[in-house]
């Protein structure tokens, strides 16, 4: 599998998916014009990646300063995929990273973490 790198834009996040290190990043902001279109290649990559993951641990570092409601649904769908993988014994770790003053990011992270049991969902607070 190839590395998938997408540069950040004003309304879409930086995405870095690496099948060699198994450390991945989604960071910045997410409010693209069409979130399904933007995230489709990412979902395709993730699905193939998970199939080939085997025993390795996959770490997703997610740091989104702001995301719109469409993106919130996308994240939910993505976490559902990880949850299913977790149920099959795959090791998935999510680090939900947020700045301590960003109450919305913290709250969304807490809500996501409550919904999932079969992956490790860490809330990582950054203080300046």
């Amino acid at each position: 599998m190839e590395i998938l790198e997408i540069k950040a834009t004003k309304s879409s996040p930086k995405v870095s998916l690496n099948p060699n290190t198994n450390i991945h990043e989604i960071s910045g902001e997410s409010y693209p014009e069409n979130s399904y279109e933007f995230y489709e290649p990412i979902f395709d990559w993730i699905e193939e990646y998970i199939e080939n993951l085997g025993d390795n641990e996959a770490i997703f570092n997610i740091e989104l300063y702001y995301f719109n409601s469409s993106s919130s649904k996308i994240l939910m769908d993505m976490f559902d995929i990880f949850e299913d993988a977790g149920e099959e014994g795959k090791k998935i770790v999510i680090n939900w990273i947020y700045e301590s003053e960003n109450h919305a990011a913290q709250e969304y992270g807490e809500e996501f973490s409550e919904d999932f049991e079969n992956m490790t969902f860490n809330l990582v607070e950054k203080s300046d």
Binding site: K10, S69, S72, K73
Partner: protein, 181 residues
């Protein structure tokens, strides 16, 4: 016409309107106006959580107009990424208000009214729970995004969403919706 514009601008100022845009709206407009709005709020030293809420509501409102306005550019192309609508951002008595406006068909009006009336009776906790519930299921066939925009707006608003449908003709109405932060 020119002589009346200063008076018009002063009326806007009196109503606390910072930003008033009526015209073709696309993602470029969301990004452009969004940027300047954020910068303005930052320079005014507004609490960052408040300015993020205002920005979030602004994006949801704008993207609703882009997705659902019946006025498209070019006309009648429902897949076009440019639509016609209105967005107003202002400040009144220490709070921000964001108003979105666009033409809708009366069929859309019924669907929107149904969604909004469900929300109007919910408190913050109920809205949060409803949002989480709706986010888990697939959006209905009429939704272009995730179908969560109104819930997101209601969650972030300090008061229940205020809205109006102004009849235009038998088929269409002008829909406006106001959020306060």
């Amino acid at each position: 016409m020119l002589e009346q514009l200063y008076k018009y601008k002063s009326e806007l100022k009196k109503d606390g309107i910072i930003f008033s845009f009526v015209g073709p709206i696309s993602q470029d407009v969301v990004e452009g106006i969004g940027s300047v709005l954020r910068e303005k709020m930052e320079t005014e030293d507004i609490n960052s959580n408040t300015s993020l809420k205002v920005f979030a509501i602004f994006v949801e409102q704008m993207q609703n107009v882009i997705n659902y306005s019946v006025d498209r550019v070019p006309e009648n192309n429902f897949d076009s990424h440019i639509s016609f609508g209105m967005i107003i951002v202002g400040q009144n008595e220490g709070k921000y208000f964001i108003i979105g406006g666009n033409r809708v068909s009366n069929v859309q009006k019924e669907r929107i009214e149904k969604k909004l009336s469900i929300l109007s009776n919910m408190d913050k906790q109920e809205l949060r729970a409803y949002y989480r519930e709706q986010r888990k299921i697939d959006p209905d066939e009429y939704s272009k995004g995730a179908g969560l925009g109104f819930i997101e707006m209601a969650k972030k608003s300090t008061e229940p969403l205020e809205y109006n449908f102004e009849p235009i003709d038998e088929e269409n109405s002008y829909f406006t919706i106001k959020t306060i932060v």
